[in-house]
């Protein structure tokens, strides 16, 4: 590239004019700061008020199981929000994907592998439809996916009744899949051997018969962690991540610079729907059945977790690891209150306050970081 400078300046000593960015400024620039701070607060709060069993290994797993299911949704919701869109149909998609999954397994008698692939493909297709409608009508995604919230929930009810001959619960899934080699990837606990070994060596709590009290890490937790890491890597280190930020930050500017904004957004809608399908598969396999209320209101919880994690409602800013912490905060509070003397109905009050605080905090940080005046 031709140099713009006429006079040959001395080779740049990269640091000479570049002041070191202070550690505080550096931390402030991370969108997940609020979530980390929130999590610390929550832990301190429960440390002071809750029964100590909450912080035992089994207490931890009790918190992480629901947190991970929400977290899988929240991470996808966070990516979509950074890309500048919402999906309010996530919860209904969980129910609908559960129905599709169950019907393929039971009514059509297909093996687990086929059911998983078909469910994922179907979810991706539905997500892409959401995306295409949003893009081509230029309606706010809020409205389009709100419509799908009801459409999918209704279709689930109708479909369940059709598949079961009048019931809103589809049973018998557990029997269909119990011999499948894929089952361990989506259901039950992982690392059981390691936990037995740990118990044998008195490193974790065990029952009198020598078996560990916690038999392993729920696979949903592993999915949660892996997805959080993968999403963070994609966001911060790949071209696609740059495009997601760009598409959410200013779609016109992004398009002018050659970013395929429509493809990025459609992909994100499909990804969100697939995350919903994954949660559906995990929870349906755990329960052995599926019903119409599956995933109820999960869309709001996922969006709240993403916002607590630092996502701006206007898009273009946020983090996946923040959503990860947001989901853990959510799980800690919902489960943790039962370990305290507080009425667990305080949960929703706490949640609402947390959301409000997070939004205020995020806006403040954004102004600070971007020097918006």
């Amino acid at each position: 590239m031709a140099s713009l400078e006429q006079k040959t300046a001395a080779a740049p000593k990269a640091d000479e004019r570049v002041k070191q960015v202070g550690f505080v400024t550096h931390m402030m620039r991370r969108p997940e700061l609020g979530a980390v701070a929130g999590l610390v607060l929550v832990i301190v709060f429960f440390f002071l008020t809750a029964d100590s069993t909450m912080f035992s290994l089994s207490g931890l797993m009790t918190i992480m199981a629901p947190a991970s299911q929400l977290g899988i949704l929240a991470i996808a919701a966070a990516l979509l929000m950074i890309g500048g869109e919402f999906d309010l149909s996530i919860g209904s998609m969980v129910a609908f994907a559960g129905l599709i999954f169950g019907v393929i397994l039971t009514n059509f008698g297909q093996p687990l592998s086929v059911a998983i692939v078909m469910t994922m493909l179907f979810a991706a297709f539905m997500g892409a439809i959401n995306g295409q409608i949003v893009i081509h009508t230029r309606l706010p995604s809020f409205i389009v996916t709100l419509a799908f919230l009801f459409i999918l929930r209704g279709l689930t009810l109708v479909g369940l009744k059709w598949a079961t001959g009048g019931s809103t619960q589809l049973r018998g899934i557990g029997d269909r899949v119990k011999d499948s080699p894929l089952l361990g990837l989506f259901s039950g606990d992982a690392f059981k051997g390691a936990f037995v070994w740990l118990a044998d060596h008195d490193l974790i709590d065990k029952f009198p018969n020598g078996m560990p009290k916690v038999t392993g890490i729920p696979v949903s937790v592993l999915w949660f962690v892996v997805l959080a890491l993968a999403a963070t890597w994609v966001l911060l280190r790949t071209r696609m991540g740059n495009w997601i930020f760009a598409a959410g930050g200013d779609p016109n500017a992004a398009r002018n610079s050659g970013v395929p904004v429509h493809r990025v957004k459609t992909g994100l809608f499909a990804l969100t729907a697939c995350a919903a399908a994954l949660v559906a598969i995990i929870t349906v396999l755990d329960a052995g059945s599926t019903d119409a209320r599956r995933g109820f209101q999960k869309e709001f919880e996922a969006i709240i977790a993403a916002v607590i994690g630092g996502c701006l409602l206007t898009g273009g800013y946020g983090s996946a690891i923040g959503a990860f912490f947001g989901a853990i905060i959510f799980g800690s509070v919902s489960i943790g209150l039962t370990y305290t003397k507080f009425d667990s109905d305080w949960f929703q009050v706490f949640l609402g306050s947390m959301l409000l605080l997070a939004v205020l905090f995020n806006n403040f940080i954004r102004r600070k970081v971007t020097g918006e005046r």
């Binding site: 590239m1 031709a2 140099s3 713009l4 400078e5 006429q6 300046a9 740049p12 990269a14 004019r17 570049v18 002041k19 960015v21 620039r29 890597w233 280190r237 790949t238 071209r239 991540g241 740059n242 930020f245 760009a246 930050g249 200013d250 016109n252 500017a253 992004a254 002018n256 610079s257 050659g258 970013v259 701006l312 273009g316 800013y317 954004r366 970081v369 971007t370 020097g371 918006e372």
Partner: protein, 264 residues
């Protein structure tokens, strides 16, 4: 001052016509730009400036006329085609995203990657180094290429946008009113940079309402009026107030200018 007359034009349009339905936006516009010169496109609102630059940058296709780039006739179907031919447009809205870092903005849409699929990732070290170096060249003191573009002033942002176009190999820069929203100091920063870009052998098409800004950097002026070329003048052949009158279509403005004490 580079000798413009000895160079073949990079862009040459002849009798370009553009109709939007029954509206004739361009009715036979001709102009050319060579390497190392700044051509200023002047014209009041509705004169056809926007349509002309949209044509040059591949956003719209002309209804008629000849468009040559480096002697070869071209027919751009998208902004991509224009970019590939070396024509970069810096839009008024900058194509910059305030919440993203300078580096990420600089490389947006053209991110260099390393590694093997599926682990292919951005070469952020390289990106940061290039960004820092390019910013240094244009004399913008950035503390850190990872700071958000929102922290830069309007003039700095404009310069980053131009630097990006230059870095990615533009031969012709189209600047759409780059100084219209800027204060005095920032305007001079941008004008200085335009001058620098010219000295490096790029052709610049500079669109503005402001005759003063135009007169400060341009080598030649092409004046549009009602979709037609009113004429092209070398800087030596025309005075600033004459330019102003031509641009506004004459009489009334002259009168008004006199009434207001010659301040327009």
């Amino acid at each position: 001052m580079p000798d413009v007359n000895n160079r073949a034009p990079i862009i040459e349009v002849t009798d370009i016509i553009k109709h939007y339905g029954s509206v004739i936006a361009l009715n036979g516009v001709s102009m050319q730009v060579s390497a190392g010169e700044v051509l200023c496109l002047l014209g009041d609102n509705g004169a056809g400036k926007s349509t002309l630059i949209k044509t040059l940058s591949g956003v719209v296709r002309p209804s008629g006329g000849v468009f040559r780039v480096e002697g070869k006739q071209v027919d751009f179907r998208s902004p991509r085609d224009a970019l590939d031919a070396g024509i970069a447009t810096v839009y008024q809205d900058l194509a910059m995203i305030p919440l993203m870092s300078i580096t990420r903005n600089f490389f947006m849409g053209r991110e260099p990657r390393k590694g093997i699929f599926p682990f292919r990732h951005l070469d952020l070290t390289h990106c940061n180094n290039v960004t820092r170096e390019e910013m240094r060249k244009i004399g913008i003191d950035i503390r850190d290429p990872n700071q958000a573009v929102g922290t830069l002033s309007g003039g700095e942002r404009q310069c980053v946008a131009i630097a990006r176009a230059v870095y990615f190999g533009a031969k012709i820069l189209i600047l759409d009113e780059p100084t219209s929203a800027l204060g005095v100091a920032q305007t001079s920063m941008v004008l200085k940079y335009i001058h620098q870009v010219r000295q490096n052998g790029l052709g610049v098409i500079f669109i503005t309402h402001n005759v003063r800004h135009a007169y400060a950097v341009a080598d030649r002026f092409t004046i549009l009026n009602r979709g037609q070329t009113l004429g092209t003048f070398a800087k030596a052949d025309i005075a600033m107030d004459e330019l102003q009158n031509l641009m506004a279509g004459g009489k009334e403005l002259q009168q008004l200018s006199a009434e207001l004490g010659g301040t327009i």
